[in-house]
């Protein structure tokens, strides 16, 4: 480095030479070189990203307009390029806006809003336009028909990469069969290697947007993939919220300070932030004062034999007459002696108060100068200090050291010897007197530093160590005696102009306890619709879902939802599928880098009945796990918005949501396993026992025994039997299970039953008689009914209300 500099110095013309090649870079140019940052790093991925951006925009636009989305995506091969068409039934875009929306990077409606939406930066769709123009040289073709408009507008445009401005090639009116909506057509160099991701993206979008109708056509599909609506209910509309004080960074705050119309900080806080009212604003201001001005140390009032406050004040007052002066001085002395501790500004207030009282009583005026003199005189008594006090035999007037000694002594452990504490207190008093000014003002930081310095000095001179804990304890004891000063805080303009002051305000805002932001800016899918979405797209045996309550991270509220589908047609081999969503947008790439993946991997899935090799990592089995993060500001690992960043608060909520859904899975799997066991038992016993009965009959030379009763008892079964004796029919229910059961029995007869003896009803249905009987049978009990019916009657029995595995019908 040094050698390079010396060479540079030798050639005086170099800087000028370099300057010639330095010029402004347009955002579009920047993108051209950094396509990967936005998800356009390859032809395969570019196509998926373009579809994703267009579909996300379409969904946002339709929802905002309260329209149920109907989105059509088509990809066709055109020579060497792919043509991408995306159509929606959104509210359309006005003629004036079309070029800006599609032809200008960083143009959008959402960047400044605190509201849950899919897109945010206004980069996505214009980046797709740019990518298409860079790879194919073709303009983007946009058709848009605003709602209520007769005709549609057709525009062909490209982006001027030097200026980041749209350049319109063609613009004309056209007719379009959609009553309203937008259609964009892009041609780009691409390939279909990411076909899987593309289809997943569309399918997963359908899962989390059960209110949307989606259709995808691409060259690899024989018939289009169509995803119908599962609900007509649009997601709840979200409200925009102001920023929360905990989530604001310094740069943003300065910008807000510069832009605000408020004059005072208090007004600014209440106006620009959510959850800040007068009370919270006062709290923030006090914290701000502590940082900006420091806090004032307060001191105990010395005993009258060591300090003569009354005398000092009397001396400081002149020309007020003996009575008034005496009343004034003695009142100040008596107020102070009744106080435990007093700081400088408190003394000023006391003197003012006393002066006013005495003025009223005596008619004498105590002006500002007199009051100031009185304050100075009294303060000199309260905080008298002389360095010699430490050595002299006759102690000079020093009230600070004893004050500090008491504090230090109370804060340090009894093991420290008195000389050390005395030495520490001497040094601390000296530093406080020297550094604090007359008012003894210290910030948290400056006081901490002083105590650390004093500890270091004590170690050096007295060879006694005051460790970190001791220092903290002393700090706490001293800090407790400090008071927030009543000084007026700087106005908005001066805070905006001073980075340090603004930083103090940010700290004060962060430190103050403030209510969590409201959550109506979020629109979770709801557990019910998560389940419906999974149900719609996955043919499984079991579904569960959970929606957590809103939490806050960095001033942005968020809600986590999780869903699980299990069994059915889901593939049983390999690890489960993990579907990740942020604000209803599927995350397709970088699964391994995503916080949600980490959370899934660290859950012990064996507890929930899923196979997990080694007890950690992705579980195996026929399951789909879905995670949705809804937030006003989803923290991604990069601009391409593929993976959630590892934020502990969010990870915790993800884990809780998954566990909530997984608990249901567990009980389902447990039940299924016990049912499987029962079925297996029934299969085996149903085979073995009759064979055993046959063998027993053979060995004993008797008839085959009736084993139904034993069977029912073994299976913990409920058995329903019919016994026909001539015209009399007896229906009986025997319950061998461990709890009471209520079978719903329907006996369908071809003739009318009579003499019904029991709690059943009979309905005539076109020549068939439906006998309905629903007895509650306790564990181990048997109940029966009888009726009379013509001989030769046909019977058909249906039993509901009892699991098939537990039921034996003999009728």
């Amino acid at each position: 480095m040094t050698s390079l500099q010396s060479t540079l110095g030798d050639e005086p013309g170099i800087a000028e030479e370099l300057a010639q090649s330095q010029r402004e870079i347009s955002i579009a140019e920047f993108f051209e070189k950094n396509k990967h940052m936005l998800g356009f790093d390859s032809g395969a991925r570019g196509l998926v990203t373009a579809v994703k951006e267009a579909v996300d925009n379409a969904l946002d636009a339709t929802e905002e307009a309260g329209i149920l989305p109907d989105i059509y995506v088509e990809i066709t091969e055109v020579g060497d390029y792919y043509r991408l068409i995306i159509e929606d039934n959104g509210p359309g875009i006005t003629k004036e806006q079309v070029p800006k929306v599609f032809g200008k990077l960083l143009y959008g409606s959402r960047f400044h809003k605190r509201e849950q939406s899919r897109g945010q930066q206004g980069i996505g769709i214009s980046a797709a336009v740019l990518y298409s123009q860079l790879t194919s040289g073709k303009p983007a073709k946009i058709t848009s028909r605003p709602k209520g408009s007769q005709d549609a507008e057709y525009v062909e445009l490209i982006i001027d990469t030097d200026t980041n401005e749209p350049e319109i090639k063609v613009a004309r009116e056209t007719s379009w069969d959609r009553p309203h909506g937008t259609r964009i057509e892009l041609e780009m160099e691409a390939n279909m290697r990411a076909r899987g991701q593309l289809r997943d993206y569309i399918k997963h979008t359908a899962v989390v947007n059960p209110h949307a109708r989606l259709e995808l056509r691409e060259p690899g599909l024989e018939t289009p993939m169509k995803f119908e609506r599962a609900t007509d209910q649009l997601p709840a509309e979200t409200t925009e919220i102001r920023p929360h004080p905990h989530g604001v960074e310094l740069g943003t705050l300065i910008k807000m300070l510069e832009a605000t119309e408020s004059y005072s900080i208090s007004g600014f806080l209440q106006e620009e932030f959510t959850r800040v009212g007068a009370k919270t604003s006062d709290k923030i201001l006090d914290a701000f004062r502590d940082r900006h001005f420091g806090r004032e140390l307060s001191w105990t009032t010395p005993a009258t034999h060591t300090a003569d406050i009354e005398g000092a004040v009397t001396e400081a007052v002149s020309n007020k007459g003996a009575d008034a002066t005496e009343a004034f001085a003695s009142e100040i002395a008596s107020v102070l002696s009744n106080r435990e501790r007093t700081s400088h500004f408190e003394l000023v207030e006391i003197v003012d108060r006393v002066a006013e009282t005495v003025e009223k009583d005596t008619g004498r005026t105590f002006g500002d100068t007199v009051r100031e003199n009185a304050v100075e005189a009294a303060w000199d008594e309260l905080t008298a200090y002389s360095e010699e006090a430490t050595n002299g035999e006759e102690p000079a007037r020093d009230h600070l050291t004893p004050n500090i000694y008491t504090l230090v002594d109370s804060a340090t452990s009894t093991r420290k010897d008195d000389a050390a504490i005395q030495g520490f207190s001497d040094r601390l008093a000296r530093r406080l007197a020297a550094d604090g000014g007359r008012q003894f003002r210290f910030t948290h930081k400056s006081l901490t530093k002083i105590i650390a310095d004093v500890a270091a000095a004590t170690k050096e001179y007295d060879e006694v160590k005051f460790g970190e804990t001791a220092q903290e304890n002393i700090f706490e004891a001293v800090w407790k005696t400090t008071r927030t000063v009543p000084d007026d805080v700087p106005k908005v303009r001066s805070v905006a102009g001073d980075r340090d002051t603004a930083s103090q305000l940010v700290d004060a805002m962060r430190e103050t306890d403030i209510l969590s932001p409201p959550t109506d800016c979020l629109s979770p899918i709801s557990a019910e619709l998560v389940e419906a979405g999974l149900r719609k797209e996955y043919n499984a045996d079991f579904y569960s879902a959970a929606t957590r309550d809103a939490e806050v991270h960095g001033g942005d509220p968020f809600i986590i939802e999780a869903g699980i589908a299990y069994g059915g047609d889901l593939k049983a081999e390999g690890s489960v599928d993990l579907l990740r969503f942020a604000n209803r947008v599927p995350l397709v790439y970088q699964r391994g880098a995503c916080a949600s993946t980490d959370v899934v991997k660290r859950i012990g899935w064996r507890n929930y009945g899923l196979d997990q090799p080694g007890g950690s990592g992705m579980p195996n089995g026929p399951a789909v796990i879905m995670i949705h993060v809804a937030s006003t500001n989803v923290p991604f690992t990069s601009e391409s918005k593929d993976a959630l960043a590892n934020i502990p608060a969010i990870e915790d909520e993800i884990e809780l949501a998954i566990r909530e859904a997984a608990r249901e899975l567990k009980s389902y799997l447990n039940k299924r396993r016990s049912m499987e066991k029962r079925r297996e038992k029934q299969d085996v016993l149903g085979r073995i026992l009759p064979e055993m009965a046959d063998k027993v009959a053979e060995v004993t030379g008797r008839e085959r025994p009736n084993i139904e009763g034993a069977m029912a008892r073994i299976m913990n079964n409920v058995s329903v039997d019919r016994e026909v004796d001539g015209e009399t029919v007896t229906l009986s229910v025997e319950n061998y299970s461990g709890r009471s059961e209520t079978p719903e029995i329907t006996d369908i007869l071809s003739a009318e039953p009579t003499d019904l003896n029991g709690d059943a009803t009979v309905v005539d249905m076109d020549g068939e008689w439906f006998l309905q009987w629903s007895p509650t049978v306790g564990s181990g009990d048997e109940v029966s009914i009888t009726y009379t019916v013509a001989e030769g009657t046909d019977f058909e029995m249906n039993v509901d209300g009892i699991d098939g595995e537990k039921l034996t019908v003999n009728a």
């Binding site: 016993l685 073995i688 026992l689 063998k695 027993v696 008797r702 008892r713 073994i714």
Partner: protein, 370 residues
Amino acid sequence: MSSESQSQTQTPEEKAREQLIDLAAEFYDQFAGGDIPEMKLPTRTKSNIEYNPNSGVWVYGDRTSTRSANSVRGARKLLKAVYTIEFLANQLEEDRSSTLRELYYLSESWDNNEAHFSDQDESNQLVEDLEIVSKVTREDFHMRPEESGATLMGPLKIKEQTRRGEREIHCQEDVGEGGYQIPNNPDTIEFLDHDTDFVMCVETGGMRDRLIENGFDEQYNCLVVHLKGQPARATRRITKRLHDELDLPVMVFCDGDPWSYRIYGSVAYGSIKSAHLSEYLATPQARYVGIQPEDIVEYDLPTDPLADSDVNALESELSDPRFQTDYWEEQIELQLEIGKKAEQQALAARGLDFVTDTYLPERLDAMGVI
């Protein structure tokens, strides 16, 4: 339990057969009564054997386990039991016999796959179960173990009822060096005459051959019974009969390790597995000659250190009700203390004749047998 049944008219075979069919009939009645078929058996573990002061042997206690068709496992067991009952009943009817191993293979020919035995332990255990519930011994089912092979040698004359007629045999004069082979059902033997002072049961073949070679049986009028490790039922049964019918003292001579004490235990007190037959097989008066841990010390025998499994076995014996006597507690604790074990053949360290000339005479003298 023995072949001398109370019934005069029935042969043992008929009685055994009837007992088996009664068992099947019990299952039948359970089925017909709407109950789940089940079979109750004493729990066959160490904790469920107890001393019967009347007979002086250890028998099963009151704890029972139930084999019930209520579970898949239980149902399979009962199905196999019924098939085995049928097989045994037929075997008795035809007056045939078979080995335990044959039963295991035979199950393969049964028409029902569920009734096939999965291993021989299972079939052996089932036969033992049937012995217990039917109160008929395996021998009376005409079931025999694969090989017994144990022998005896000494001044004893017997008459054996074989399938090929009666044979009279003198167990010293009519046999080769291998001795007289004990039949599977020793109850077919009748003792005719003897010139025996005591019975010496020997664990290992090597020591048994040493005693014969040195003429110990002739010199001391001793009947040498070869135990062949853990003794077969027939060996234990004939030992008991020799004691009960001929009033001979029974001595047991084994290695000096925990496994050998168990051999002694099963001769004297009965085994855990066949505690239901203890009264028929065990000889509570049998006495342990050696090798005692005490002998290891006294004769300074060559030893091996106790392995962990030996220590565990010794400790488990301390809690075994069969070994809870002062003598055994003292010996086992001594062995744990010295941490050593010795084989019978370790006596050869003092010469081949040491065991017959010195050790056994000294021990038997001390025990008051000679």
